[in-house]
């Protein structure tokens, strides 16, 4: 019993450390990738090729003056940045990142806990991230953040629905909510081959949930200054960004598990490379894709975004489910 608890704790610690590393270097990657896409260099001053920049950013933000907006609703104002980072940390518990290994005679699963409703759990915890934005926007007692908060509430409800529907196809194919089962299913062939439409819809909905361009309406800086975090400064501001990049990491990880074969190597002659490394490679690729998208496209307008979700994505996701079901019946699924 105690050993089991220690194992879980160690796994959690490692995952948390890796997540934080991803968050820190995610910010750097964002700036580096955008720099190179734009024929610039990006951060270059701190450390070799700017590798210590996240540290410098963190230190700087930590020592910045903490400004609290006047007439703000203090409790929610402080609560919002804290909520921002919680969902991602909760979510890492169910993401498998490798095949079971045997260490000191114990079989250790490379996942903190393999619950049988893992996907539902992910959806459930991710639904909390909207509160950070809504509370941040409302409690600042300022019009631009409020607009950002309102937009985000509507955007979130719409895209959470589509996100859920898009992964339904995967669940139907595999027949399980467990991420481990889903990855095992993809040992020979990636899910993206069976569910290409679902993958596209998932990526779009995930980008929208992450509030990233072309769907970054809640924080569209050219319209709403900073959206929900306009009035935030110092550590609280940093927390929002920690949350954003942590959510990006988790979303990418889920995409890898659901569609890109998890920790399995894509080609058999490379299968000697350990699973977790494959997992990280794929994760970085999806992460990069999100960055790449952001620095290429213009932004949707808010109402276009809603129309896009309800009139195009939602029917597409439903069609995907129907088609999956139809194919399963036709070719001897159920």
């Amino acid at each position: 019993m105690i050993v089991a608890i220690i194992v879980v704790a160690v796994k959690l610690l490692i995952l948390f450390a890796v997540l934080m590393l991803f968050v820190a270097y995610g910010t750097l990657a964002e700036r580096k990738v955008s720099g190179h896409i734009q024929d610039r260099l990006g951060p270059y001053h701190c450390g070799p090729h700017g590798l210590l920049q996240p540290l410098a950013d963190g230190l700087k933000l930590f020592f910045k003056e903490d400004i609290v907006a006047a007439e703000s609703d203090k409790i929610l104002y402080y609560l919002a940045p804290m909520i921002a980072i919680v969902p991602a940390i909760l979510a890492i518990g169910v993401i498998p990142f490798g095949e079971s290994i045997t260490l000191f005679g114990r079989k250790i699963d490379l996942v903190v806990t393999d619950i049988n409703v893992a996907l539902l759990y992910l959806l459930a915890v991710s639904s909390f991230s909207v509160y950070a934005i809504v509370f941040g926007g409302w409690s600042s007692n300022s019009k631009y953040p409020l607009l950002g908060g309102l937009r985000s509430a509507a955007q979130f409800i719409s895209y959470e629905l589509i996100l859920g529907l898009s992964i339904m196809g995967v669940i139907m194919v595999v027949g399980s909510f467990s991420l481990v089962d889903i990855v095992h299913y993809q040992k020979s062939m990636w899910m993206v081959v069976y569910q290409p439409l679902a993958f596209i819809i998932y990526m779009i909905a995930a980008t929208a949930e992450l509030n990233r361009l072309p769907f970054d309406l809640p924080e569209a800086e050219s319209e709403l200054v900073g959206g929900y975090h306009t009035e935030y400064s110092s550590m609280k501001f940093a927390m929002f960004f920690l949350g954003e990049y942590a959510n990006m990491t988790v979303t990418s990880a889920v995409a890898v598990c659901l569609f890109l074969g998890g920790w399995y190597s894509p080609v058999s002659f490379l299968s000697w490379i350990p699973g977790p490394i494959w997992f990280v490679v794929k994760l970085v690729a999806v992460f990069f894709f999100l960055l790449w998208l952001r620095w290429t496209y213009p932004r949707f307008r808010y109402d276009q975004l809603m129309v896009f979700s309800w009139k195009y994505l939602l029917p597409l996701a439903l069609v995907n489910i129907l088609a999956t079901g139809g194919v399963m019946i036709l070719f001897g699924g159920i």
Binding site: L120, G137, L150, I157
Partner: protein, 167 residues
């Protein structure tokens, strides 16, 4: 007296549920009231998950309530941008009395009914999987299920019709 660890969990969660329920009723500010209800629903979900072995219901509870309904409530509260005066209400003693009286009557009824329910619930995991649940929904309760879907559809239409100024 032996204190079962699960009992401690139950009383802890029940306490939280009641506390947050009190919050919903007595906090003046609608945002905090809604926040309190959110806490209430989440703790209830944890109760389902930990003691009743119903992870599916727990997750659905969070997804539906936290992910949609409460966001929706907050959205409306913020949209209305209520001024300070709007949510300052005067306590109405006779209504309070009325409420308490009705509540007591109802409680009495429930307790009479519940008199025989004295079985011990086995806490912890186990219980029904998603499969069993879906089996019931799509066989015995298929009519109810379809009716609920019609209800939701009608509700969505009605909401649009009500809230939209110009159709």
């Amino acid at each position: 007296m032996m204190i079962n660890a699960w009992d401690v969990v139950f009383f802890f969660l029940a306490g939280l549920i009641l506390l947050s329920a009190l919050g919903v009723v007595f906090i003046r500010h609608p945002v905090y009231s809604a926040l309190s209800l959110l806490a209430n629903l989440c703790v209830t979900a944890i109760l389902y998950l930990s003691l009743m072995g119903a992870p599916f219901i727990a997750m659905v509870q969070i997804i539906v309530y936290a992910g949609a309904i409460m966001v929706f409530f907050l959205f409306v509260i913020m949209l209305m941008n209520l001024s300070k005066g709007e949510y300052q209400e005067r306590a109405v003693p006779w209504r309070l009395l009325l409420g308490l009286g009705a509540a007591a009557l109802f409680a009495f009824q429930i307790f009479i009914l519940a008199g025989e329910w004295r079985g011990v619930l086995s806490p912890g995991a186990g219980g029904f999987g998603v499969k069993a649940l879906s089996h019931f929904i799509f066989t015995r309760y298929i009519l109810a299920f379809e009716l609920v879907s019609v209800l939701i559809f009608v509700a969505a239409l009605g909401a649009v019709a009500l809230a939209k100024k110009k159709l």
